[in-house]
């Protein structure tokens, strides 16, 4: 065993430590503050998130392995951490009102959101099977509870149970694959593993391990055919949690996927490429076709997020630094537009109306022009129409595919995004063209307003002037590839 952990290691995981401490502060504050102070807790949570973001600043240039290769602190992880924290912040902002309406206790809720974020951060940094596993479970268990957080609501219960069952099942599959990987390489460190695996590509046990791990990750990113939990969970879970789940959990799973396959199994690239190619095609197509017929918005967004996972998989198939950069761009862009869409759904939530049916959006344009405009932007962005951020994301994903020689994958991708426009536009039709019905009056609160404005501005700004995003993503993606190369030399 290599020697123990040093003080420097603790410094390098400062953001994680800050977040952990902060989450405990939230939990204690919940006990100390008088009841009905959900707003205060939300602000404390936001401060914790802000502090964590601030503690990321010293690590802009850092590229080290912590604790003998348990966690990597690099720009790749940093990029994802920013996405997770941003998503968490928006989720908290949209939760304040929602929790009041549902009458749920806010303390544990915010605590669990922070825990889930912590898990995601560990997943993005993990370069060892052990850390990845722990990060994954920290996130997943938090989400199981959050999905069922509205205890009196049967739909919420049901969503949680379904998510839990399939999540645990997928964990079993993933772990079995991981145990095979460990047995065949003799190490749990992905970078060391990459070297041991070089040259034994044809080992059937290794191929089995790759397939099991891919299936396990497939569940987490809701790739078809492992997607069946997603629509139910998305529909039943509390809306802010659905939003966070679809953005944070998916992003973290993609980070994990890239770490495992690009850092741990680069020599198996031809094998897993084929696998993900098939997954990408099926996922995009099935997700989009299924979304066409949905009348519940959360369900529709669930299928749409399945389709989006398919698009992002294109970047994995490309497997080049450009592909990874495109994935990073897409993940960030997707966070804003998807969260934005859910913010609008939360706006529609009233005491008696869930506000996630398509008809609830009839004539929203008249009732609340800004919400309608925001939703329009999110839908266009999800559909990949310029000048929104979604276009830039898709554009570069397809570009990466063409660059890597996967032209027909790109063709399927663009045709799918044309199909997807059909159901995104349907929402727009309801908002702008359909006559106003006795729907719910959107209820704006300051927190929601801030969240919505941030999401809209980001969606447009990143579409018009994505320069910084592209540069950051490319720099971050390069650290992932470079790390694998340096290890190979060592």
């Amino acid at each position: 065993m290599p020697p123990g952990i040093t003080f420097g290691d603790f410094y390098n995981i400062l953001p994680e430590l800050v977040l952990t401490a902060g989450s405990l502060v939230v939990l204690i504050a919940d006990v100390l503050l008088p009841r009905r102070s959900g707003g205060w807790l939300a602000w404390i949570t936001l401060i914790v998130i802000g502090a964590t973001l601030a503690s990321l600043v010293p690590f802009r240039e850092t590229r080290v392995e912590v604790a003998n290769g348990l966690i990597a602190v690099d720009q790749f992880a940093l990029f994802f951490k920013v996405v997770f924290l941003g998503a968490a912040a928006l989720t908290v902002l949209m939760s304040v009102r929602y929790l009041e309406i549902e009458g749920a206790s806010p303390g544990e809720y915010y605590f669990l959101i922070l825990c889930a974020t912590l898990g995601m951060m560990i997943m993005a940094g993990g370069i060892d099977l052990i850390t990845i596993f722990i990060g994954l479970e920290t996130m997943a268990v938090s989400f199981y509870i959050l999905a069922g957080f509205i205890k009196p609501n049967q739909r919420s219960n049901e969503a949680a149970v379904k998510y839990f069952l399939l999540g645990a099942f997928s964990l079993g599959i993933l772990l079995y694959g991981m145990s095979l990987m460990y047995g065949l390489s003799g190490t749990t460190n992905l970078r060391v593993m990459a070297m041991t695996f070089a040259g034994q590509e044809s080992d059937p046990r290794l191929i089995l391990a790759v397939m099991l791990v891919a299936a396990g990750v497939g569940f987490k990113i809701a790739a078809v055919p492992f997607h069946m939990w997603a629509p139910d969970v998305y529909e039943g879970a509390p809306t802010p949690i659905t939003a966070f789940l679809s953005v944070g959990s998916t992003a973290a799973s993609f980070a994990m996927l890239l770490r495992i396959f690009l850092e741990g199994l680069p020599s198996m690239k031809p094998e897993w490429r084929v696998l993900f190619e098939g997954l990408a095609i099926v996922t995009m197509t099935v997700g989009n076709l299924a979304a066409l017929t949905q009348s519940n918005l959360k369900r529709m967004l669930a299928y749409s997020s399945i389709a989006h996972a398919g698009y992002v998989l294109i970047g994995v198939v490309a497997g080049t630094p450009r592909g990874v950069a495109a994935m990073l761009i897409y993940v960030l862009v997707y966070a804003f537009m998807q969260l934005g869409a859910f913010i609008v759904i939360v706006l529609m939530r009233r005491q008696d109306i869930v506000g996630d049916e398509l008809k609830d959006f009839s004539g929203l344009h008249v009732r609340h022009p800004f919400a309608a405009f925001a939703m329009l932007m999110f839908m266009l962005s999800l559909g990949g129409i310029p000048p929104t951020a979604g276009f830039m994301g898709k554009f570069w994903l397809f570009g990466a595919a063409i660059d890597a020689g996967y032209v027909w994958l790109a063709v399927i991708g663009v045709l799918n995004s044309a199909i997807s426009l059909y159901y995104y536009i349907r929402i727009v039709v309801f908002m702008y063209v359909k006559k106003e019905t006795a729907g719910s009056e959107p209820t704006m609160s300051p927190a929601l307003g801030i969240a919505l404005a941030v999401a809209v501005i980001a969606t447009i700004a990143l579409g018009v002037y994505p320069r910084l995003l592209f540069e950051l993503a490319e720099a971050s993606a390069r650290t992932l590839g470079a790390a694998a190369i340096t290890t190979a030399i060592r």
Binding site: L380, P387, G399, V414, L415, Y422, V433, R467, F470
Partner: protein
């Protein structure tokens, strides 16, 4: 005036943002602002006409700034003669199309205008694509919210058709981009750079197909035209006008700006396919138009026929044909735009588009009938009006290539006269049989003012097209240098004599001879033994071979001209 193009481009957008802030109940203010913005947009585009230098073969008014440096995308604007004229057409039609509507209508219209202008100005392929796609959404809304009965269906059809075409085109752009990088080591979307690329044939073939899908749907060419009649019929008048006058030109603009010069070999290879599709389009569009009972649908199908003629002229791939093709695009914008305005006026008064509901309108609406007559004649290509010049040049260009094609094209022109005159006869002449038509109001002053610029243009372009043709000169040179040197050498000796008698036989001989197209005829090389065309001193015999064109044209393609910033 370094930023003239940016001013033209963003004036409508700024107007839209201002409108966004105005209370939607304040209808007067909204109408005033919208009209003012559209008018200002037109006025500030006028300097383009005067400041554009036809002698200079480079792109002019160039503006360049970094946009996404890590992938080589730039904010890169510039115009040549062709895009100058299309920009003017855009600002003009946006100005005339503004009618009294609600706030959102204006906003969408102005955003649409920005999209169109941007597409015509962009010399960065990614920027072009951005503007190209931006147009979709406001147009969707214009049709979907303010259209007639079947509007949602028509709107989504328009949207999805165009979208499918353009996303496939995007892949073509990307393929081009990455190929450019492997060849030159530079990441760039610079169109002027692409104009100099010599792509392997195989790649050209695929990229051409991708571009073809995008542009042909927009034109629309024959098998992809089905969205157009629906969209036109259900769109509100302003939408139809913009659609006919400008949006369809996006497709043909794309062919001339991108497909032909970037992919010359593939373009030549695809000539037979495009010619066949165009001929089908010409005849089919005309025949269907002849059978229409719906006024607006008739005009829509006439659009299909006319645009097919434009495509045919373009893919004659000789200077005359392409000049004619561009000129005819302008004509089509003016005359068809005007025809949609004309339908719109009676539709506003009667709320029906059935031709059988009308008849004898010339009795109650004499001014209206006169305007309609001029536009009809312009549309069918009567001499002294603009349509004639375009159709003549196109036919001439095709005739040089193939007499059979020319015969088909001419039949389309004849059919065009048939359906337009038949329409005119049914609606304007005869007795007023429908009592509802008895008290229709003639054109108001405001309405007439809308038509006035179009009428002036129709007559001006018909009688004295030289300023227009002169401006097209360098654009056509550009394209021909890339796409046709071979063609010229091969066919010149055989065919160059043919157009001469046709030219001599026309009554507007002098007009044509004086204009730029005639100059092109002169440069159309005939080889040492060929007879020179027209009565020009042309450089034909000595330096007029295909080989001499590239230098002049490549000067035009340098793309980084030393324009003052």
């Amino acid at each position: 005036m370094n930023h003239l193009l940016s001013f033209i481009l963003f004036t409508p957008l700024v107007g839209a943002l201002i409108l966004l802030l105005v209370n939607s109940r304040n209808e007067d203010a909204i109408r005033w602002i919208a009209n003012l913005v559209a008018f200002v947009g037109f006025v500030i585009s006028i300097p383009l006409w005067f400041l554009y230098n036809p002698q200079n073969a480079d792109f002019q008014f160039v503006e360049r700034a970094t946009w996404i440096p890590s992938i080589g995308a730039e904010y890169f604007l510039g115009v040549d003669g062709f895009s100058t004229l299309l920009i003017l057409l855009t600002t003009l039609s946006a100005w005339t199309a503004i009618t009294e509507r609600v706030k959102e209508f204006y906003i969408f219209l102005l955003v649409l205008q920005t999209g169109m202008l941007g597409a015509f100005m962009s010399l960065d392929f990614l920027l072009f694509f951005l503007f190209w796609e931006v147009m979709l959404v406001p147009m969707y809304f214009l049709i979907g919210i303010w259209g007639s009965d079947n509007r949602l269906y028509s709107a989504i059809k328009f949207f999805l058709y165009t979208l499918v075409g353009s996303v496939v085109m995007l892949l073509g752009i990307l393929a081009l981009y990455f190929h450019n990088h492997t060849v030159s080591g530079v990441y760039s979307f610079d169109v002027t750079l692409f104009h100099k690329l010599n792509l392997p044939y195989n790649l050209q073939w695929w990229i051409f197909l991708a571009f073809f899908l995008g542009f042909a749907i927009k034109v629309p060419m024959f098998p992809f035209h089905t969205w157009l009649p629906d969209a036109h019929t259900d769109a509100p008048t302003a939408g139809s006008v913009i659609l006919a006058a400008v949006l369809l030109k996006m497709g043909t603009y794309g062919f001339i700006r991108f497909s032909l010069p970037i992919l010359p070999d593939a373009s030549r290879q695809f000539v037979p396919m495009i010619v066949v599709l165009s001929i089908i389009g010409i005849v089919y569009g005309a025949l269907v138009a002849l059978a229409q009972k719906d006024w607006k649908r008739l005009v829509a199908y006439s659009s299909v026929s006319h645009m097919a003629l434009v495509m045919l002229g373009m893919f004659a791939l000789n200077p005359v044909g392409i000049t004619g093709s561009i000129f005819q695009q302008l004509n089509h914008g003016i005359s068809t735009g005007a025809l949609f305005l004309i339908v719109g006026i009676v539709y506003e008064r009667r709320h029906t588009r059935e031709i059988s509901e009308y008849g004898g309108l010339s009795k109650v609406m004499p001014v209206y009938a006169a305007v309609f007559l001029i536009m009809t004649l312009s549309s069918i290509g009567l001499p002294a009006l603009n349509g004639f010049i375009g159709e003549f040049l196109i036919l001439q260009g095709i005739f040089v290539v193939s007499k059979v094609w020319a015969a088909f094209a001419a039949s389309g022109v004849v059919l065009g006269a048939a359906y337009m005159l038949y329409l005119y006869q049914r609606t304007m002449f005869g007795k007023i049989e429908n009592p509802k038509n008895e008290r229709l109001l003639d054109l108001s002053h405001r309405e007439f003012a809308t038509f006035a610029p179009l009428l002036v243009l129709a007559v001006w372009m018909g009688l004295y097209p030289a300023p227009f043709l002169r401006r097209l000169d360098s654009s056509v040179q550009h394209v021909i240098a890339r796409v046709s040197p071979e063609y010229i050498q091969k066919n010149a000796a055989a065919d160059c004599a043919a157009p001469a008698p046709a030219l001599a036989a026309t009554p507007t001989d002098a007009t044509v001879a004086a204009n730029g197209a005639a100059a092109f005829l002169a440069t159309l090389p005939c080889g040492p033994d060929g007879r020179p065309l027209a009565a020009s001193t042309g450089p034909g015999t000595t330096s007029g071979t295909g080989a001499d064109i590239p230098p002049s044209a490549s000067a035009g393609q340098t793309g980084r001209p030393g324009e003052p910033r």
